[in-house]
């Protein structure tokens, strides 16, 4: 673990119209680590995650104040170009959502969008590299030009990860990436997360405490829009400091 600060969230408040969804969040996320956000439904985990790449901008009624520093620069300002930000902070969603295009075009979409490849060969190698990193290449190398929607659920999710990797992000956000998958596909994604953290900073929202315990280095527990406790995963699970955390991980709430 590198102990280098990647993301620093300071006094973040988020509102959906009148309703406050996040209260005064302060959280540090380290480079090349997996940080998991856990907590009961509706506690604001996903909202917090979406603050990190400004996906909340898409919701008209959503407003946020406070600071989100990535590499020391505040992204929560009107000057920040969200398009640029999102090429640096990739996202994988809850339900696999491949584009209704071929596997190749799915992965090539980002590089094409940002004009990253100068030639067809360069694009090809980018696609192959991303698919290989996502652990999917061997399974699909013979049908790169078939529909991405024809893959199995787990393969689709890995395709979505490959798609996110193709734009060379530094941070990958995962919003419950395994909640729609069976245990075998889940295991594959978890292995992949282990692999990916060597190169990327990963923030994962999960409902499964076992998953948080398995894959993450640090864990943050949230409750009703507040950050209750955060720290090394092994400490949170073995020796929670807060009563609410204790209740949640022992299954009394949530």
């Amino acid at each position: 673990m590198s102990e280098k600060l990647k993301i620093s969230i300071k006094n973040l408040n988020v509102f959906y119209a009148e309703k406050q969804a996040l209260f005064d969040i302060n959280l540090n996320i380290m480079e090349r680590e997996v940080t998991s956000l856990i907590g009961p439904s509706g506690c604001g985990k996903s909202t917090l995650l979406k603050c990190l790449n400004r996906m909340n901008d898409l919701i008209d009624i959503c407003t946020m104040d406070g600071q989100v520093m990535i590499d020391g620069a505040n992204i929560n300002t009107p000057d920040q170009d969200p398009v640029l930000l999102r090429s640096k902070v990739g996202m994988v969603f809850q339900k696999p959502n491949p584009f209704p295009k071929s596997i190749y075009d799915n992965v090539a979409y980002g590089p094409r969008l940002h004009g990253m490849a100068q030639s067809k060969d360069e694009l090809d190698s980018m696609v192959i590299k991303s698919l290989t990193r996502a652990g999917l290449y061997d399974e699909v190398k013979n049908r790169l030009f078939e529909a991405g929607t024809g893959l199995s659920g787990g393969q689709q999710q890995r395709l979505c990860i490959a798609r996110a990797l193709a734009v060379n992000p530094e941070i990958i956000l995962m919003d419950e990436p395994c909640s729609a998958l069976d245990p075998i596909a889940t295991a594959k994604i978890e292995e992949l997360i282990e692999e990916l953290k060597r190169k990327y900073t990963i923030v994962i929202v999960t409902h499964s405490m076992q998953q948080a315990a398995r894959v993450s280095d640090r864990t943050a527990y949230m409750h009703m829009g507040e950050l209750i406790e955060s720290g090394f995963t092994k400490n949170i699970f073995s020796n929670p400091q807060h009563q609410k955390t204790q209740d949640y991980i022992t299954g009394r709430i949530g």
Binding site: V83, L85, S87, F93, K101, Y109, L113, R163, A164
Partner: protein
């Protein structure tokens, strides 16, 4: 147990109601179609009279007075006819179009002379008698009086009156003579009008739907616009005709009776349909796809162009074609902007005066001349054919675009 029996019976009863409703609806449809087809089919044939034409090759066609020559050739077949009124009765069995056909024949002959039987269009009165539309009473049938009937009988005895394919119905425009009246002018006028309606209303409709659905912020103002567009779809079409009259004719001084103005008016009428269909198609595009695109760093417009619009396109096209099909069958707004005129020429450009298919049907249905009855039904058949083709196109486009994804 008793209760279950009751429920099962109720279910059966309900099924029966449903089936009978469907059967009644289908019966109405078939009665309508049968009615139209049985009265319209005969319009695709017309009566022709065979005349023995003998013109020596030495004759210079330019010097022939075709009208006189045609009369001479016809009268030659009945040498016993002497009185003027008898001659007139014989010649009145031919349509005015027969002279033009004779002229064409002369031109085609290339001074090589003619010898043999040629067929010329019969008058509408005779056509109706041949087709059995008017019945024979004694020596008369409708406007065929006994004097004309003697010639008819004589010609039929020699098998010189025949039903042949109607060359005029699909190749000429309207005419005072029913046997020479066709719907080509109306078809071309209708096609120009719906083409212009499509060109104008499709981009406008899709753009406004995209803007309202994806770009506009929700507030009171956008709510009012939305309600108004939904209400606009229910406005009677004749009101759009008044709008077209006031704006396109009076304000912009565009030519009266032109398919251009008809198309613009129909575009305004079709617009709400397209907007509503496009909005629901855009709404049904899964937001997860758009999120994925935004999440990769695409801008809102790039996401709209790359995913939202292509994925919504089958729905948008279906709605548009249904709107255009409605416009094709629309009469009332066209009456207001003067496309109801009697036009004998096929329009060459959208600026020429013209009529439209449904208006032509209206005009012919209104005509006291009985020979127009079968032509009305024939025109309806052609209109229905176009509507079926448009609907097939909608189905084809929907399947084709969906398969691509």
């Amino acid at each position: 147990m008793n209760n279950l029996n009751k429920r099962n019976k109720a279910e059966k009863r309900f099924k029966l109601y449903g089936i009978s409703a469907v059967i009644i609806a289908i019966t109405f449809l078939f009665v309508l179609l049968f009615n139209i087809f049985s009265s319209g089919a005969s319009a695709f044939k017309a009566s022709y009279i065979g005349v023995k034409i003998e013109i020596p090759s030495a004759m210079n066609i330019d010097e022939i007075n075709s009208r006189k020559e045609f009369k001479r050739q016809v009268l030659k077949m009945f040498p016993e006819v002497e009185t003027r009124s008898d001659k007139r009765a014989l010649l009145s069995l031919f349509s005015k179009g027969a002279i033009y056909e004779f002229e064409d024949l002369l031109e085609q002959s290339d001074s090589n002379g003619l010898d043999g039987y040629y067929w010329f269009l019969a008058h509408g009165d005779l056509d109706m008698y041949i087709k059995g539309t008017v019945e024979r009473r004694g020596n008369e049938a409708g406007r065929i009086n006994s004097k004309r009937m003697t010639f008819v009988d004589a010609l039929r005895e020699q098998n010189l009156i025949q039903l042949q394919a109607n060359k005029y119905l699909l190749s000429s425009a309207d005419s005072r003579e029913p046997e020479m009246a066709g719907i080509r002018g109306a078809i071309v006028g209708s096609l120009y009008a719906i083409l212009i309606a499509f060109i104008v209303s499709f981009p406008l409709g899709v753009l406004s739907a995209l803007y309202m659905e994806k770009l506009a912020s929700r507030n009171k103002f956008s709510d009012i616009i939305e309600t108004n567009i939904n209400n606009l779809a229910a406005v009677p079409s004749i009101v759009f005709g008044l709008l077209g009259l006031a704006i396109f004719l009076n304000f912009f001084s565009l030519p009266r009776s032109a398919p251009l103005v008809g198309g613009l008016t129909l575009a305004v009428m079709t617009l709400p349909t397209i907007v509503i269909a496009s909005r629901s198609a855009i709404k049904s595009v899964p937001p997860s796809i758009e999120e994925a695109s935004i999440g990769l760093g695409a801008s809102k417009i790039q996401t709209l162009m790359n995913f939202t619009l292509p994925l919504a396109m089958p729905g948008i096209m279906t709605g548009t074609i249904i709107g255009i099909a409605r416009a094709l069958g629309e009469t009332a707004p066209l009456l207001m902007i003067g496309m109801v005129a009697f036009v004998v020429d096929v329009p060459g450009t959208p600026l020429d005066p013209s009529t439209a298919l449904p208006v032509q049907i209206f005009l012919w249905a209104d005509s006291p001349e009985r020979a127009f009855v079968e032509r009305t039904s024939a025109a309806i058949m052609v209109l229905l054919l176009f509507l079926v083709l448009l609907n097939l196109a909608a189905i084809y486009i929907r399947n084709k675009l969906e398969r691509k994804w």
